[in-house]
């Protein structure tokens, strides 16, 4: 039976609760109800007292998790939507992120952010916040794009002795399926994945945009181009090595992200490639992000606001013909 991306997230949490008694889950409606998206369905019943409903207090939820973490537990905090982590922003970047550096006491915890746009989601239920958290020293930011990574990166996040912002993409929750969950990941969490081999240009991307990029690559292959697609998996730290290795072979690159065009992962990737891979480049490195407005509510507007396969293909053609 196929496993969805969402089921993989649930399975990883079930395994973490099972294997490590320090793990607990905290967040709005995560208990008996199983969470707004059902990512914790059944877990409260299976692990009494370890899957707890929080008040609508994101700041306190993160503060509480920090306290539990420095006391030796391993909290997983679910934000109902990534967008609501904005009210816990200070606790995340000022306390969780600085704890180890300031005190020498590690602060392992995972904050799950249901991220990204869906039709009808609108400005406050669609945000991608990976760039916000990645900017702050002291955080690891994961952005799984596949069912397998959703599972294995979450398990790695729970094991890591650092606070992890785990950005799971809502658009993939039920769309994306895998035949089975492999026991082990084919890659350590610190490596980007070459999701498709190519020769003519490299697309560097992550999360839901991986699938748009793969579609674009498929389309272009029918035009005779071989596009390599790199899935970052973790956006902080970034595996620059894998990106550069790819660009050294293709000579061209496009960074694609769903979040806002000023800054973001795309800027970071292009800046790295430009600085460290300049000699490999046969064409200007390019970027594609969403439009510089809040994420619009109406599906028509939303579809035009985010990058998609057609647009990726269009820009890639420009890159290829440079």
């Amino acid at each position: 039976m196929a496993t969805t991306y969402l089921e993989a997230i649930r399975a990883a949490q079930a395994k973490a609760l099972q294997d490590d008694e320090r793990v607990f889950i905290y967040g709005q409606d995560v208990g008996a109800f199983g969470g707004a998206f059902k990512a914790t369905k059944g877990l409260a019943a299976a692990h009494p007292g370890r899957v707890m409903d929080s008040p609508i207090s994101e700041d306190a939820s993160i503060g509480l998790a920090i306290g539990a973490s420095i006391e030796g537990l391993r909290p997983i905090v679910e934000m109902q939507f990534a967008d609501f982590s904005s009210v816990a922003f200070s606790q995340i970047v000022n306390q969780a992120a600085t704890q180890f550096y300031r005190t020498g006491v590690p602060c392992p915890m995972v904050v799950r952010l249901p991220s990204g746009g869906t039709p009808g989601g609108g400005p406050f239920h669609s945000q991608c916040m990976e760039a916000i958290y990645a900017h702050y020293p002291g955080l690891v930011v994961m952005t799984p794009a596949t069912v397998e990574d959703a599972y294995h990166l979450l398990l790695a996040a729970v094991e890591l002795e650092d606070p992890v912002i785990y950005c799971e993409h809502k658009f993939l929750y039920n769309h994306l399926k895998a035949e089975r969950l492999p026991e082990k990941s084919d890659l350590p969490p610190n490596k980007a994945r070459v999701a498709r081999r190519g020769r003519d240009a490299t697309v560097v991307t992550y999360s839901a945009m991986l699938h748009e990029a793969l579609t674009a690559a498929g389309d272009l292959s029918r035009e005779g181009w071989e596009i390599e697609v790199v899935d970052l998996r973790v956006v902080k730290p970034i595996d620059t090595e894998t990106i550069l290795e790819s660009v050294s072979r293709t000579g061209r690159m496009l960074a694609v992200g769903e979040s806002a065009p000023w800054g973001g992962v795309t800027a970071e990737v292009v800046a790295r490639v430009a600085a460290d891979g300049f000699r490999f480049l046969d064409a200007p490195p390019r970027r594609l992000a969403c439009k510089d407005t809040p994420v619009p509510y109406h599906p028509n507007l939303w579809a035009a606001h985010r990058p998609n396969a057609a647009e990726i293909a269009r820009v890639l053609r420009e890159v290829l013909r440079f």
Partner: protein
């Protein structure tokens, strides 16, 4: 519902009600409730039919008495920041039915032009705040409108904000309520304790006996009300709004009731305690109001039926209109989040 005269309750703030106006008042409020319930039913039907409504639909079922009472207690020129279950109050405060149907049904002509959806709609120029999702955020914003009016010497205005039991836990709510008190603003904070925040019962939300206990800690005058009882709601909300308008500073109203629907239409609310449903708090305020109307002979069954028919007609027409409207067109959008992009934008063209 064009037949309804503009809410006469404006006067009731000045002139004590005569027995006739008590009836008039009740009937008028009931008809707003009925309109809201009818519109909610329509939206639910459209949502369930599929494909017509994007995003969530959050109903006010069971909260119409409270919400209406707030809406009618406010005057034109006041400010109202509704929350997700305030369709009735929005309508009573003056929001056209078409605003709701257009927003839900994705018309380009709705107040949000497709840029934001559903419960987030508002018309700032009419004092109808357009809520962001982050619970509690609109409280300080409403306070800011009131502060600005006071700074400009505009008096007699009231601002109302609506939140749920769950939203009381946010820092934003706390800061907003406290700031309004420090400024002694004419703010009416209505807390609908409907026993649940999504699936979370109040026992996981706060540990005080009664949320009204918070009024004193913020320096608010406090009012308690049975949210299933329209008459009580009309009286208490009017009193709270009057007190704010008369300069007694911010007012807190805490209503006891039960959310008679899922959190949104996607939610079957199977977690709601059956004991609560069976208890007085679980009563349907609309049915109770109907009972009162009939018992007091303020209306007959056929009046109820004809009012309902009017509501259905108005709602159906608004829905039909919205469905005929053009959808938002990305090509017609300017895709700018700035009001003065031309002044500042030089080369923010990282798109492709």
């Amino acid at each position: 519902m064009v037949e309804l005269a503009p809410s006469p309750v404006v006067q009731s703030a000045e002139i004590p009600l005569k027995p006739e106006s008590k009836r008039e008042n009740f009937v008028r409020a009931y008809r707003w409730m009925l309109l809201a319930r009818t519109l909610d039913e329509k939206l639910a039907a459209l949502y369930k039919a599929g494909g017509k409504i994007s995003g969530g639909v959050f109903l006010g079922t069971g909260q119409e008495a409270l919400s209406t009472a707030l809406g009618v207690a406010l005057r034109k020129g006041d400010v109202f920041a509704p929350l997700i279950r305030d369709l009735a109050g929005r309508l009573a405060f003056g929001e056209p039915v078409l605003d709701a149907t257009r927003t839900y049904l994705g018309s380009r002509l709705g107040p949000m032009r497709g840029r934001d959806g559903n419960i987030h709609r508002g018309r700032i120029a009419e004092g109808q705040m357009a809520m962001i999702s982050h619970l509690g955020a609109m409280i300080s914003t409403t306070a800011g409108v009131l502060l600005a009016r006071r700074m400009r010497g505009q008096t007699g205005t009231v601002g109302a904000i609506s939140i749920g039991d769950g939203a009381t836990s946010t820092g934003s709510t706390h800061e907003g309520l406290n700031t309004a008190a420090v400024e002694h603003l004419p703010l009416v904070a209505v807390i609908a304790n409907n026993q649940y925040a999504y699936s979370t019962p109040t026992s996981r939300q706060f540990a005080c006996e009664d949320l009204l206990d918070r009024a004193k800690g913020y320096g608010y005058e406090g009012h308690s009300v049975d949210g299933t009882d329209l008459e009580a709601c009309l009286e208490v909300l009017q009193r709270a709004v009057d007190r704010a308008r008369e300069g007694h500073g911010p007012q807190m109203v805490v209503a006891r009731l039960l959310r008679l629907t899922g959190h949104g239409l996607h939610d079957d609310a199977s977690y709601v305690d059956p004991k609560l449903k069976a208890s007085p708090v679980g009563a349907d305020c609309l049915r109770l109001a109907e009972k009162t109307l009939l018992e007091r002979r303020w209306a007959e069954a056929k009046d109820l039926a004809s009012w309902k028919a009017e509501c259905v007609k108005e709602v159906d027409e608004a829905a039909a209109q919205a469905m005929r409207d053009p959808a938002p067109d990305p090509k017609l959008e300017d895709w700018s989040a700035l009001n003065e992009p031309e002044m500042l934008d030089l080369g923010l063209a990282t798109r492709g």
